[in-house]
Every structure is written in C-alpha cells, then in structure tokens.
C-alpha cells in the first residue's frame, strides 16, 4: 500500500543540533484512515499512519522526537481516539496518550541540521528500530560522506543469517537439474575437452571402483597443468596418458604450501548434504576458498552409494537472498547505501594509502604465462585487463583457460610468448560460447547501491563486478561474491 520511496519531510525538532530519537507510534485498533497528532506536531499537523503489511488493523508511523515528555492522540476515521493500552492522561484536549523519552543517545548519534529533510523509514518487523540511524537522503560531498553505522551492518547480517539458517541446500536444487561427473581415471586431456564442450567450469570426480566422489576438477587445475607443461616440456602425448588421479596425487605433493593458513590442504572432498542450511554451505565455501561444492546425499549411514544432486555456489545462495528480500529491502538497511561507503571488496589504493594491497591488473600485451602466474599466486579468480590509463578493456578469469581446448590450442601454445589478447581472441572466436567482452565484464559505479550490485552478482555465471569510473572506465575496484558473503557473515575482509 505504501511505496518505499515515500519521502515525507518531517522535520519535527524545533531546536538546531538536537539529538533526535526515531520513535514508532502504533495504533492497533483498526480503522480506515488513521492520523497521528501530538505536542510534537504542535497539535495542528496530522501525520498519516500507514497500515502494517499483512495486518490491516494495525497502523504505524515513525517520527523523530526530542527527548522529553510528549503527548499525542489518534484521529481515526473522523473521531479522536486514544490508545488505552498505552499510558494516558487527561489534559486540555481530553484524554491523551503521553510518552516520555529519555535522552540517552544511540551509540553513534546522528545530528540532524534543520535544512536537510530526513527520510522517514516506514518499515515493519523491525525489532531494533530505535537503534537504526536516520539516514540523510541526498549524499553530501565525498569528503564528508557518511560511513554507515555498525548497527546497520549488524542488522543486515542478522537478517540474512536468520534467512540462511532457515533454508536448506535442497532449496537450491532446480526442479530438473543436470550434473556432469568425470571418472577420476580419465586422461587429463579428455577431461579438458569435456569441460570445454559442455561449457562447464568445474566437475566433480568419481572413483568408479569405490563408488565415492573424491574431488573436483576446476579451471585452476588446468592452469597448473599448463604451467607444468611449459616448465617441464612435457608433450601432448603425456597429457593423453596422464590421468586425473595421477595429476591430483602429484599436485598435493607439489603445492602443499599453497594453503594460506599454514595447514596441509584438505584432502577430502568438501561437500554438503541436501539438508544442511544455506548458512553452513556458504561458510564451507568461504572457508575452503572454492567456488562450488557438490551437494551429495547418502541414504546409508556409512556414506556408501552417494547420490550427487547439485553443485552449489555462492551465486545461487545470493539469488535466494535477493529473491527473499526483494520486496522488503528496507529490512536490510545497508542495501541502499552506495558501495563506496561500505567496507566491501578490493579497491585500487589511493595516493597516500600505502598499506593497501594493490589490485592485480595487466595490460593486453602481457604474456599469458604472467597472467596464469598472477591468478595462482595472488589467489584471485579474475584479472582486469587495462590499458595505459587503467581503463578497463576486458577481463581474464580462470575459467577462460578452457577456451584453449579449442583446436587443441594448448598443444602449440608457449605461455610466455602468447599474449593475453590473443588468448582472449581464441575464446571469442569459438562459436559455442560466444560471449562478447561486454557481456563478460560486469561493471558498476562506486555510487551504485549495494542492492544493484547484489542483483548483478546474482545473475548466473557472474562471480565478480568491477567498479569503474563513469566515462573514463578506469578501474577503481572489484567486488566478488566471496567479498560480499564475507561481509554478510561478519568475516574480516581481505
């Protein structure tokens, strides 16, 4: 009934620089048109109250009041009424409700100057409402841009955590889905081609003899294999006989030091069950720094005869979140904030911020070998390709490596001689996966709201969004799915 964009200008404080406390008034006794008036409106202005969603006999309005004693009364369908369940006194206007507000400031008090209209938050179901800050509409100059309060972030986290704990990974399954599995004894070369032909970036591995799923094959494996080929001069014939299981065994020996926490890498397959909550699935994905995990169901207690159901990723979980909160986006207060105000993502460090990690970027003439090394060492999944002015041209992601399977290009590729733009050209020439580079790079501006970025990230296949400057397309930062979920789960960033 009420639109969320209602910008009623209700500056009700008479004093300049006073601390205002947003207060909710509720009329629970029904009616069709309900107005609120009181000492804070000088008993002359009538404030319309809006019905609560889902309960049409309850009306509410929210006003900013100075601390102190206030009196108020309701005008319901043409007659004056007071709420008998709230404290009331007899006064000049008959029986009126009274309310005493203590003057305790909120943790980060907001100072409202009289010239700025404050946006009334007409929201429902908000237990923590008195702690929510009144946000100023109309962003001021960048130097004095408001950082959003910790309370807003906490509230958002709390809401999302509640939703994720109430949903299971069964909800992620499509009604009729498809999964492709590779036998772990397949030669690596065949596996490469299958991933390319089927257009999938990752596949679970099955050990046929034990009947168990033992791991996943992803683009990162191919990047490491190609670098091995380049270093050791192995031939294409070796690729044909080298099985996935042999590769994995060798990889664990060689790359043991890749674990960021200093522990030996997890050998067992990271997976989840269909009745695990979405919160557990998201935490598993973040903890193990993977992009997808298989959802496996086993009807017997010892885990035999596993049934593979789905491959879950953060993108799908985000889609569930967006779908759920689409019509009540005001219950997540930080959604409307511009992303420059939110501690999220990796940003190009400005001059003077010496302690920030630089954002990894490359020019189109850099060699493919350097791009692959950067993908592995910087533990990122995508590198923006920029020109001399840091303007975005394209991106090279880990999954682009499978394009080298076209015409067996990997067999005649020298990693240090091939340039990135040539590698990307191979990918664009292939007809079965014809993405234009515009479709591949998902971009946004620093002033875009978090909600807009979330909608972009929840499109299938999108794992990161690049923040560019309007007009010049200079790269300012990257926000990835895992950055977003680290914010939601309250993990330390970067």
């Amino acid at each position: 009934m009420f639109s969320s964009g209602m910008d009623a200008s209700q500056d009700l404080s008479g004093t300049v620089g006073a601390v205002l406390i947003p207060t909710r008034f509720v009329w629970p006794h029904g009616g069709r048109r309900v107005f609120l008036t009181g000492s804070f409106t000088r008993w002359s202005d009538h404030l319309p109250m809006s019905p609560v969603e889902g309960c049409h006999t309850v009306f509410q309005a929210i006003c900013n009041l100075t601390p102190g004693l206030h009196q108020y009364k309701f005008y319901v369908d043409g007659e004056w009424r007071h709420d008998e369940n709230q404290p009331y006194v007899s006064g000049n206007y008959g029986v009126v409700n009274s309310l005493f507000l203590t003057g305790e400031p909120d943790p980060v008090p907001s100072v409202v100057s009289p010239g700025t209209p404050s946006r009334i938050n007409m929201d429902v179901d908000n237990e923590h409402f008195r702690r929510v800050q009144v946000t100023l509409s109309g962003c001021s100059a960048p130097e004095t841009a408001l950082r959003i309060s910790e309370a807003d972030i906490e509230l958002t986290r709390h809401q999302i955590s509640n939703f994720l704990s109430a949903s299971t990974s069964y909800d992620l399954l499509p009604d009729s889905g498809k999964v492709i599995v590779l036998d772990v004894n397949l030669p690596v070369k065949q596996a490469f081609h299958i991933l390319y032909e089927q257009g999938i970036p990752v596949a679970p591995l099955l050990d046929f003899h034990s009947g168990q799923f033992v791991g996943m094959l992803s683009a990162l494996d191919f990047i490491l294999i190609l670098r091995e080929l380049g270093n050791c001069g192995s031939s294409e014939e070796e690729l044909e006989t080298h099985t996935i299981s042999a590769w994995k065994a060798g990889k664990w020996q060689r790359y043991d030091q890749l674990d960021a926490h200093g522990r030996p890498l997890e050998r067992r397959l990271v997976h989840a069950g269909p009745f695990d909550t979405l919160k557990d699935v998201a935490i598993k994905i973040l903890q193990n720094e993977v992009a997808t995990i298989p959802i496996i169901h086993s009807s017997s207690p010892d885990g035999s005869f596993p049934q593979l159901l789905h491959l879950a990723s953060l993108s799908e979980i985000l889609r569930c979140i967006c779908r759920h909160f689409r019509h009540s986006s005001s219950s997540l207060p930080i959604l409307q904030q511009p992303i420059c105000n939110i501690p999220l993502g990796s940003w190009v460090p400005k001059i003077g911020e010496a302690n920030r990690r630089p954002l990894a970027m490359l020019t189109p003439n850099a060699s493919l070998g350097s791009a692959l090394s950067l993908l592995v060492q910087a533990r990122v999944s995508c590198i923006p390709i920029v020109d001399g002015n840091n303007s975005l041209l394209d991106t090279y992601s880990r999954s682009d490596i499978t394009a080298l399977a076209k015409d067996r290009a990997y067999a005649h590729v020298h990693l240090d001689e091939m340039k990135i733009h040539q590698a990307l050209q191979i990918g664009q020439d292939s007809t079965s996966h014809g993405f234009s580079s515009a479709q591949k790079c998902h971009m946004c501006l620093r002033s875009d709201s978090l909600q807009k970025v979330m909608e972009q990230l929840s499109s299938p296949g999108v794992r990161r969004v690049i923040i560019v400057e309007a007009g010049s397309m200079r790269v300012e930062g990257i926000i990835s799915l895992s950055d977003l979920f680290r914010l939601f789960m309250g993990w330390p960033g970067n």
Partner: protein
C-alpha cells in the same frame, strides 16, 4: 432360465446380413514387423540438453517412465571416453547425472 430359442412375439432377433461375415486366413503383414527393441517412450531422455551454467533455469521435467534407466552414449567405435547418463528423483526434484568414463582398450 429358458433357452434362447423362445422369443416373444414381435421381438424376434433379426438375422445378420450375409456380407458381414467372412473368414479370411490371417496374413503375415502384422507379424512381419518385429516388436520394438525397447519401449519407445524411453527415447525422451533429458540427456541431450546442455548443462551450461548460464542456462536459464532447469531442464524440462522428465516423464516418470524414463527415471532410473541407465543410458549409454552412442558414438562410433574408436572411442576412449563413453558417457553414461541416468535421471533419478530426489524427493520432489529430478537430477540428471552424466558420467564420463574411460573405455579400456582391449
């Protein structure tokens, strides 16, 4: 009850016309065709749909007659990889799993 010979006046059963009966010897044309090797509805598998992540939504719902049947890919003889596929139901959702296996050369 009485025999069918007696009848009520005015309700005699009319006799059948001569041409409605004949007595042909059965020919072979119906038996010339062999019965189908497999029930024809098994052809409606979901295995030919692409599994691309960018696909909009899921595959169409399978007919329940094809569930729990194992399919093998039909490719020419010199092949090193064979694809096996099956569609099964998990609670109220369907999953089609395709496994690529190496073929052992004799």
């Amino acid at each position: 009850m009485q025999d069918g010979e007696t009848c009520v006046m005015g309700f005699e059963v009319p006799s059948s016309p001569e041409s409605s009966y004949n007595n042909p010897i059965p020919r072979n044309e119906d038996e010339a065709r062999d019965p189908p090797i497999a029930p024809p509805h098994l052809q409606h598998t979901l295995l030919s749909y692409s599994a691309s992540q960018e696909g909009s939504g899921s595959l169409p719902s399978p007919q329940n007659v094809i569930l729990n049947h194992l399919y093998i890919e039909n490719r020419e003889a010199p092949r090193s990889v064979v694809a096996l596929g099956i569609t099964h139901r998990f609670r109220s959702k369907f999953v089609t799993v395709i496994l690529y296996k190496p073929v052992r050369r004799r």
